[in-house]
């Protein structure tokens, strides 16, 4: 990680913020002292001594660095959409200190060599920590199982064919059993392909009007239900990505009550938007799974409030402007997310009264850290001798989302122009300040 504005060897003191780390039962006003990329001390009686920089965090939340377990960084091979450099710049711009990138690249990240390549490229050009989810099957084609052992040995933290679900039940069984034996999470993109042929948006009133082939809820639910049935006896760490249907929340809830090992994630757009956003053939509302109806949106918010959905993920999916300018059916799927996700989560979950700030921080830090095993490295927490991955948030700041201010290389967001509240003011990755809206650099 280059681009340091404050040298990691310097001593930095964050003073007077609300220290909020649910995993450490920490919620108090105090200071954090950082040196050599690690937290030296924190609390109400930190000996500031000879700090090189003092950062006033009065009125701000000082949280563990935010973690996004689902992003598309588009490298290798899709540099017209995003690179590891620009995708991670977008992440730190939005307050994220760690991201987990998906393997649907060109070529697919389906070997130890590819995992290693992404790791080296991230070390050279990344602005935040990059963890890799490697493919479950070769080329993500669902036909032959990928070398999962060696992918994990090379550093992959999760296994997924994201972009597609694993359709074949026998293959799913094989992959889940392999992941269970290795103790690594498997992340499923739940979509039965036979129910979604030619589909480009949610099947309903809007698709009927627009003359677009619909992607029904049941295509997600049927695969989720099958997977949970398989995992009942396998016991892998099964994670359902980007849930979109209210029915899926109920299915996941019941399975968790029954003791099936499973977690689920939801994205900002599914928490805030519905298929009405596709009106006028707006390709910035085209994503997979699709935006659904108000009752689904409410069920997803409630799923977070009830603790059924325990992970938030942007599914950051950059695409070049020319690609999104294609007619709706030909335009690629997905929207960018990391630059502006935080205030959208705040709007959907905190401002709506579904949860409070400490739970939101938990959902953005320790929960994804536990899912991906990053808590073993001390990520997702704030504690002495832990890595200094810290996000400082102004929970009251009102601002307007402007895609031209994004650090992502792409601009495909339906949230451009939205008035929001809450913003990452400082993003520190291993003691390096990677995003600074507090003017720390100018104080140095």
């Amino acid at each position: 990680m280059n681009h340091d504005t404050a040298k990691p060897s310097s001593r930095i003191l964050l003073t007077g913020g609300r220290l909020l780390s649910p995993a450490d039962d920490l919620d108090l006003s105090g200071d954090v002292l950082i040196e050599d990329g690690r937290i030296v001390a924190l609390g109400q009686d930190v000996d500031a001594g000879s700090a090189d920089h003092r950062i006033d965090a009065d009125g701000l939340l000082v949280c563990p660095g935010l973690i996004d377990p689902h992003v598309h960084l588009r490298e290798p091979g899709q540099g017209a959409k995003e690179t590891i450099a620009t995708g991670t710049a977008a992440a730190v711009n939005g307050g994220f200190t760690s991201v987990c990138c998906m393997p649907n690249t060109a070529p697919t990240i389906d070997s130890a060599d590819q995992v290693e390549w992404v790791r080296l490229k991230s070390e050279a050009t990344g602005r935040c920590r990059v963890f890799v989810a490697a493919a479950a099957t070769i080329g993500r084609r669902g036909e032959s199982i990928a070398p999962i052992h060696t992918e994990i040995a090379a550093g992959a933290v999760a296994i997924t064919d994201d972009g597609d679900g694993i359709d074949d039940a026998a293959m799913m069984h094989r992959v889940l059993a392999t992941c269970a034996s290795l103790g690594v999470p498997f992340m499923q993109h739940c979509q039965d392909p036979s129910l979604t042929r030619d589909a480009t948006m949610h099947e309903g009133v809007v698709s009927a009007r627009l003359g677009l082939v619909g992607w029904p809820r049941v295509a997600e639910e049927i695969m989720l239900e099958r997977d949970l049935r398989l995992n009942r006896s396998i016991g892998a760490c099964y994670h359902a990505q980007h849930l979109s249907s209210g029915g899926s929340v109920a299915i996941l809830d019941q399975a968790r009550r029954d003791g099936v090992r499973a977690t689920g994630e939801v994205s900002p757009h599914h928490l805030l938007l519905t298929d009405a956003a596709c009106d006028g053939f707006d390709t910035n509302a085209k994503m997979n799974p699709p935006l659904r109806e108000e009752r689904d949106r409410q069920a997803l918010v409630q799923g977070v409030a009830d603790g059924v959905i325990t992970v938030l993920a942007t599914d950051h999916a950059p695409h070049a402007a020319a690609e999104k300018a294609l007619p709706f059916e030909e335009a690629p799927l997905g929207i960018i997310g990391v630059d502006c996700a935080l205030p959208l989560y705040v709007e959907a979950l905190v401002a709506s009264g579904a949860i409070e700030w400490p739970r939101l921080v938990e959902l953005l830090t320790i929960e994804p850290a536990r899912l991906l095993g990053l808590d073993r490295m001390g990520l997702g927490r704030l504690r002495p001798d832990g890595p200094a991955d810290i996000t400082v948030i102004d929970p009251e700041l009102d601002w307007t989302i402007d895609v031209e201010q994004f650090a992502s290389q792409s601009r495909n967001s339906p949230f451009h122009g939205r008035r929001v509240r809450g913003r990452a003011m400082l993003t520190m990755v291993g003691g390096r300040i990677e995003c600074d809206r507090l003017g720390v650099a100018s104080m140095a």
Binding site: R197, D198, E203, G204, V205, A208, R209, L210, G211, L212, V213, G280, F281, A325, L326, P327, F328, E329, E330
Partner: protein, 296 residues
């Protein structure tokens, strides 16, 4: 579209019918306008209909089709249309396989764009010409019940028919097997009902539009092999329609599937050729409006 707009187009089309029949010349809308016909999906009658309409208005048409053009080299829809517009044509008529494609082009070019059918979305001039043919036969569509039979979900004709018929005060029953007519299609407008059986609703009909089974747009296995038994307009079934009830088909027909030979050729009932005739007049009226809007 509002009722007044639909009626204005139909009234103008009616006035233009003598020009279509060659009994009178239409007044020219503009000196030497050239229209670009961008037809990127197979079409016979719609393209010829628009070309004829343009010629009857005393203008010229240049046409491009998908075979033998740059689209076969992978050029995108919008790029193709932009290039045709850059040749200085005064208007574009677009047929494409992408829903929303015509509107997408209209966003990108400075000349009027007429949608001649975009994917599964809409085929507005077909909707208008069907309404014109029906109005001329029935006098008025107010309070009439019109059955539309076939693969409604995949049909741009059905959507445009619904909009123009209901704008004129008609009620619409969408008929077909559940795989082709999902319940949520009733949301396409007021006074629309869905029926998964044809026979019980035949006696309500003041008119029947039967659609072509579109094998190019339906994924394999969605057309029931007994479609004709349940939904085909057979001679026997038509005996259960009142004698004066007209039958429309947008063409081209799959004879013996959605409509039988004898029905298609029953000139007292079947309006298919009348539809084609009204089609030229409606397209003249629409092109006039488009050009008037562009210069006004």
């Amino acid at each position: 579209m509002e009722r007044t707009e639909v009626e204005a187009i139909l009234d103008r089309a009616e006035a233009l019918l003598p020009a279509v029949d060659g009994t009178r010349k239409a007044t020219q809308i503009q000196e030497s306008a050239v229209f670009g016909l961008v037809f990127l999906e197979d079409s016979t009658r719609t393209r010829l209909s628009f070309e004829t309409a343009i010629h009857r208005l005393g203008q010229r048409a240049v046409a491009m089709t998908s075979t033998g053009s740059s689209t076969s080299k992978g050029e995108s829809l919008v790029d193709t249309a932009r290039n045709v517009a850059a040749m200085g044509v005064q208007g574009l008529v677009v047929r494409c396989r992408q829903s929303g494609g015509a509107a997408r082009i209209a966003d990108e070019v400075d000349v009027p764009v007429v949608n001649a059918g975009d994917g599964r979305h809409e085929h507005p001039t077909q909707g208008l010409l069907d309404a014109a043919a029906l109005r001329s036969r029935l006098g008025s569509l107010e309070g009439r019940r019109i059955l539309i039979v076939g693969d409604i979900g995949n049909s741009r004709v059905a959507r445009s028919d619904i909009y123009s018929f209901t704008a004129l005060g008609a009620a619409v029953t969408l008929v077909g097997p559940p795989s082709m007519v999902p319940w949520h299609l009733a949301s396409l407008g007021h006074s629309i009902v869905v029926s998964h059986e044809l026979d019980p609703v035949l006696d309500q009909a003041d008119a029947v539009v039967t659609l072509r089974i579109q094998r190019e747009r339906s994924s394999s296995g969605t057309v029931p092999s007994d479609y004709r038994e349940g939904f085909g307009l057979t001679k026997d079934r038509c005996r259960n329609l009142r004698r004066e009830v007209p039958i429309l088909h947008p063409g081209p027909a799959n004879r013996g599937v959605e409509i039988d030979d004898g029905v298609l050729e029953d000139a007292s009932r079947c309006l298919v050729l009348d539809q084609v005739r009204h089609g030229v007049a409606v397209r003249m009226a629409v092109l006039e409006r488009a050009m008037a809007g562009a210069s006004g």
